[in-house]
C-alpha cells in the first residue's frame, strides 16, 4: 500500500514542481562555480536590464559556442571576434584601416622582410606589464606542434615557422625575437604585402602568458579565470553558454572602453535571436537571410567576406569536367540574379568573378582598380549552348542528356536549397542531368574535398587577410586547398612570382592577370558575395565591421 500512497503523493508533487519548482540551475551556478566571485558585479547575469541599473551593457547573440578562447587555438571567425576584444593585437584593423595598438610604432625593412615593433606600455589584467617576450612566447606556442593549434598555418609567414610546425626545428628558432622588453622583431620568409592586415585582425598573434599556460595546461583559457587578459576587456565567465566581459582596468587605453559589461549569448536558433532582439533583450542582431525583407528600412548591411562558388574537379573521373568549354557552359548557363533571388532571398550579391572586390589593390580597393572580365550575372543561355556544343563535339558526346554530373553539397543549413536551385537551372538550361549528393558537413572538408572525391561541389572561402592572393592561391596546382585539382602552368608561374615581388603595382597587375586566366578557363563557378544584414541599437556607437578575419568588432564600442 506504500506504493500507492507514494504514487499519489508523487503525482501531486509533480505538477506543483513542474510549475513552481525550485530554483533553476543557472541562477546559482555561474556565481558559485566561477571564481569570478572576485568581481562580484559579474555574478548576477540574470539582472540584465541596462536601463534599470544604469549600467552600460552591450548584449548580442552568436549562433554557436566558441571552439576555444585560447588566443593561439582560436579556430573560426566567431572565436577570433571574442579574443580580439580581450587580447591586445600589435596593430588593430579599425574600419579597414591599420591603427597602432599594442605597438606604438613600427618599421619595415626595405626588402619587406623585417618588421620591428615598438611596444607601448600595457598591462595584463593581473597588473603585470605586457612585454615583447609575451608576444614571442605566443608565436612560438602557436607554431609548436605540441600545442596542436588548428590555425597555426597563419604563422607560416615567419622565418622557420613551417619547420617548427612539422617538427624539424625547435620553437626557439622562430624568427621572432625580443631585443628588449618593448621591442619585437619579426622576420618573414617572403615580403608579404598584407602582413600588417593579418596582424591587425588575427587573434593568433596576440600575446600569451607562459605562467598561465603552464599552470592550467590543457585547460588553459577554458574559463574566464584560466587566462589573463591584455586587451580592452577581460572574460569574466564563459559558463552556461553566456560569455560575460568586463573592462580590463589595467588596459593602456582603458578610458576609451565604453561598456560596463558585454554579454554574448549562444543562441543557435536564428528565429529566437530575432525574437529576443525585438523584445529588447539584445542590442545587436544578425538578420537571418529569410527575414531580411521584414527589416527593409531599418537594417544595415556589411559584406562579411565569405564568397561562395561551385568547385569543379578538373581531374574527376567524369571527363566532361576536364573540358574547359563544358566548364564555361556551366558558368554561362547560370543566371546568378535569379539564383540569388531563389536561394538567398536577394540578400547576397551575385558575383561572376573570383576575387572579392573589397580586398586591397595597390592604393584603394582591388575592385576599383581592376575589372577582370567575369561571367555575366544574368547568364547567357545562347553562349552556354555554344560552349556546350563545342564541348560535346570535342568529347564526342551526341546529346546533352547523356551527360550526368554529380553535385556534392553538405547537410549544412542553406546548402541544400542552393544545390537545388543550381540543379534546376543547369538541368533546364543545358539539358544535362544533375544529381545531388549530400554528405555530412564533417565529411565534406575532411574526406570529400581534400581527397578530390567529388565532381562538382558547393564551397567557398572566408579570407584571413584582404588581398587577392587569398582567393587565387586556392587554384595553385600544389596548394593544399586546391580542391578543384586545377593545374595551369602559366597561372602557377604568375602566382609564384607575386610572392617575391616587392613592387606593389607589378604584383597587383600579375594577380589580376592570374584571375583572368581562371575566368577564361572556367576553373570555378563563382556564385555570390555574402551580405550580412544587421540591426544595431541606436544608442550604440563605435562598433565596426570587417570582412577578413573578423566580422564584428566592439572592442571600442560605446553608448552614445
Amino acid at each position: 500500500m506504500k506504493a500507492k500512497k507514494f504514487l499519489a503523493l508523487a503525482l501531486a508533487a509533480a505538477l506543483a514542481l513542474s510549475v513552481a519548482g525550485c530554483s533553476v540551475p543557472g541562477q546559482t551556478t555561474p556565481a558559485a562555480s566561477t571564481p569570478a566571485a572576485s568581481t562580484p558585479a559579474s555574478s548576477t547575469p540574470a539582472a540584465s536590464t541596462p536601463a534599470a541599473s544604469g549600467e552600460k551593457v552591450f548584449r548580442y547573440a552568436v549562433s554557436s559556442e566558441a571552439t576555444s578562447l585560447d588566443q593561439q587555438k582560436t579556430n573560426s571567425v566567431g572565436d577570433n571576434e571574442l579574443v580580439r576584444s580581450m587580447q591586445e593585437l600589435l596593430v588593430r584593423v579599425v574600419d579597414g584601416q591599420i591603427e597602432p595598438a599594442g605597438a606604438e610604432s613600427w618599421e619595415i625593412s626595405p626588402d619587406g622582410l623585417t618588421y620591428t615593433f615598438h611596444l607601448r606600455e600595457n598591462k595584463w589584467s593581473d597588473g603585470q606589464p605586457v612585454v615583447a617576450g609575451d608576444y614571442v612566447y605566443a608565436l612560438q606556442r602557436l607554431m609548436d606542434p605540441a600545442t596542436a593549434s588548428p590555425y597555426s598555418f597563419i604563422g607560416e609567414y615567419i622565418v622557420n615557422a613551417r619547420e617548427i610546425e612539422v617538427g624539424e626545428k625547435d620553437p626557439s628558432e622562430l624568427g621572432a625575437t625580443a631585443p628588449d622588453d618593448s621591442t619585437l622583431v619579426l622576420q618573414l620568409v617572403n615580403p608579404t604585402a598584407y602582413f600588417l592586415s593579418l596582424l591587425g585582425s588575427a587573434s593568433q598573434f596576440t600575446p600569451c602568458r607562459k605562467d598561465y599556460v603552464e599552470q592550467y595546461g590543457e585547460t588553459f583559457a577554458a574559463d574566464g579565470e584560466k587566462n589573463v587578459y591584455s586587451g580592452p576587456y577581460k572574460l569574466v565567465s564563459s559558463a552556461n553558454q553566456v560569455y560575460i566581459f568586463e573592462p580590463n582596468e589595467y588596459f593602456w587605453n582603458a578610458e576609451k572602453v565604453g561598456f560596463d559589461r558585454v554579454e554574448v549569448n549562444v543562441i543557435a536558433d536564428s528565429n529566437t535571436q530575432v525574437a529576443m532582439y525585438n523584445n529588447g533583450e539584445l542590442d545587436y542582431l544578425n538578420v537571418p537571410t529569410e527575414q531580411v525583407p521584414a527589416y527593409d528600412d531599418v537594417d544595415e548591411a556589411y559584406m562579411n567576406g565569405s564568397e561562395d562558388w561551385v568547385y569543379i574537379n578538373a581531374k574527376s573521373d567524369n571527363k566532361v569536367l576536364g573540358n574547359s568549354n563544358f566548364r564555361l557552359a556551366l558558368n554561362y548557363a547560370l543566371n546568378r540574379v535569379t539564383y540569388n533571388q531563389l536561394a538567398n532571398n536577394n540578400v547576397y550579391e551575385p558575383w561572376g568573378n573570383e576575387v572579392m572586390p573589397m580586398v586591397s589593390g595597390v592604393k584603394g580597393f582591388y575592385g576599383d582598380e581592376y575589372t577582370p572580365n567575369g561571367y555575366p550575372l544574368e547568364g547567357d543561355a545562347a553562349k552556354a549552348q555554344e560552349y556546350l556544343q563545342a564541348a560535346m563535339s570535342e568529347l564526342g558526346i551526341a546529346s546533352p542528356s547523356d551527360i550526368t554530373i554529380q553535385f556534392t553539397t553538405s547537410d549544412n543549413a542553406g546548402w541544400k536549397k542552393i544545390a537545388e536551385v543550381i540543379q534546376e537551372q543547369w538541368q533546364t538550361t543545358l539539358g544535362i542531368k544533375v544529381e545531388i549528393r549530400q554528405v555530412t558537413y564533417s565529411e565534406i572538408y575532411s574526406n570529400v574535398y581534400p581527397t578530390h572525391d567529388f565532381e562538382v561541389g558547393y564551397g567557398g572561402w572566408s579570407p584571413d587577410y584582404p588581398d587577392p592572393y587569398t582567393y587565387l592561391e586556392l587554384f595553385i596546382s600544389d596548394n593544399v586547398y586546391n580542391y578543384s585539382n586545377y593545374a595551369n602552368a602559366e597561372f602557377d608561374e604568375l602566382m609564384k612570382s607575386t610572392r617575391t615581388e616587392t613592387d606593389a603595382q607589378k604584383r597587383m597587375d600579375t594577380l589580376a592577370k592570374a584571375e583572368q586566366i581562371l575566368l577564361d578557363d572556367g576553373a570555378v563557378v563563382p556564385l555570390q558575395l555574402r551580405n550580412q544584414h544587421y540591426l544595431l541599437d541606436d544608442d550604440i556607437g563605435g562598433v565596426n565591421f570587417y570582412f577578413s578575419g573578423f566580422n564584428i568588432d566592439w572592442a571600442y564600442g560605446y553608448y552614445k
Binding site: 513542474s18 551556478t29 579556430n75 585547460t219 536558433d269 529566437t272
Partner: protein, 306 residues
C-alpha cells in the same frame, strides 16, 4: 529482491561495457573526421592527431580510454579544444535535468489525469476532448510546437520570456513544449490500459462487493492500469532528462541535447563517447528502477522468484 538487484547491477555493468565498446568502434566508422576546419593543412592535422593520441593503434586507444574511464575521465573534447567532456556534461546536465523533470512532472500528471478521465467518461464529450488534446500533442512536431508557443506567448502576447533559462518564468515554455508529446503518449496509453483493466474480473468483484466507484477506480483500476505507462517511463525519463536538441535550441537552454547532436555531427569522438556512456548509464539505471517498480506496483509480479 536483494539478489535480483545484485544480479541486475552486474548485468548493467556488462551492458555498459558492451555499449562503450560498440560505440567506441562505431564512431571510428563514421565518415569524416573530428577536425573539420576547411583551412586545416595536412601538417596541422597530423599535429592534432598526435595531440589526441589518434596515431596509436585502435586497440591501444581503446585500452587507454577504458583506463581513463575507470578514473571517471572522459577526456578532452575535440571541438571545444580546451574543455573536458566531464566539464561540459557537468555544466549542461543540470539544465537538461531541470527542464526534463519539470516537463516530465507536467506530462505524467496531466497525462495520467487525462487518460483516467477519458476512460471513465468513455464515449462522451469529455472523452472526446481528452482524445483531441492527446492527438494534438502527438500530431505537431516539436520544432513547430516550440516555435508556435514561442511566437504566441513570447512574441505576440509577451507573457513569457522568449528564450534563455534564467528563472522560473523562463522554464514554462520549454517545459510545456517538451511535455506535449509525452502528455499525449501517457494519456493515450493510460486510457487504453484503463479500458483494458475495467473488464477484468477483479474489477467486477470489487464493484459487486459494493466498493464505491472512486475506490474501485483508484485502488484497483488505476493501480493495475498504470503498468504499461511505467514500462514506457524508463526510456522516457532517460531521454527527456538528458536533453532534447530541438526544444533546447529553440529556447536557448544551455543543456546537453545540443552537445549530444552536435558531437555526432562534428565527429567529436570523445564527446560522443562521454555523452553515450553518461546517457547509457542513466538509461540502464532507469530501466532497472522500472523493473523493480513493476514488482512494487503490481503485486502479482514477483521478480526474481520462481
Amino acid at each position: 529482491m536483494a539478489k535480483y538487484i545484485a544480479k541486475r547491477t552486474v548485468a548493467a555493468v556488462v551492458t555498459l561495457l558492451a555499449l562503450i565498446t560498440i560505440v567506441f568502434f562505431l564512431v571510428r566508422l563514421m565518415p569524416g573526421e573530428p577536425f573539420t576546419n576547411p583551412k586545416l593543412t595536412p601538417e596541422i592535422k597530423a599535429n592534432m592527431i598526435a595531440y589526441y593520441g589518434f596515431d596509436k593503434p585502435l586497440p591501444v586507444q581503446y585500452v587507454e580510454y577504458l583506463k581513463n574511464l575507470l578514473h571517471g575521465d572522459f577526456g578532452f573534447s575535440m571541438k571545444y579544444t580546451n574543455r573536458t567532456v566531464n566539464d561540459i556534461i557537468g555544466e549542461t546536465f543540470p539544465f537538461s535535468a531541470d527542464l526534463g523533470i519539470r516537463a516530465l512532472c507536467m506530462a505524467v500528471s496531466i497525462g495520467l489525469v487525462l487518460g483516467i478521465v477519458a476512460a471513465r467518461n468513455r464515449g462522451n464529450g469529455i472523452d472526446f476532448f481528452c482524445v483531441i488534446v492527446a492527438i494534438l500533442g502527438t500530431s505537431i512536431p516539436d520544432f513547430i510546437m516550440g516555435a508556435i508557443l514561442q511566437y504566441f506567448f513570447g512574441i505576440k502576447w509577451g507573457l513569457l520570456p522568449v528564450a534563455l533559462y534564467k528563472g522560473i518564468e523562463y522554464t514554462i515554455l520549454p517545459a510545456t513544449a517538451l511535455a506535449f508529446y509525452t502528455i499525449a503518449s501517457v494519456s493515450r496509453l493510460m486510457r487504453a490500459s484503463m479500458l483494458e483493466v475495467v473488464q477484468q474480473d477483479y474489477i467486477k468483484t470489487a464493484k459487486s462487493k459494493g466498493l464505491s466507484d472512486f475506490r474501485v477506480t483508484v485502488k484497483h483500476q488505476i493501480r493495475n492500469a498504470i503498468m504499461p505507462v511505467i514500462t514506457l517511463m524508463g526510456p522516457m525519463v532517460a531521454s527527456v532528462l538528458t536533453g532534447t536538441f530541438v526544444v533546447e535550441s529553440i529556447f536557448a537552454v544551455p543543456g546537453m541535447g545540443k552537445y549530444y547532436v552536435d558531437s555526432v555531427n562534428n565527429n567529436d569522438y570523445s564527446m560522443i563517447l562521454g555523452m553515450t556512456v553518461f546517457y547509457g548509464a542513466f538509461l540502464i539505471l532507469c530501466n532497472l528502477i522500472v523493473d523493480i517498480l513493476y514488482g512494487v506496483v503490481d503485486p502479482r509480479i514477483r521478480i526474481g522468484k520462481k
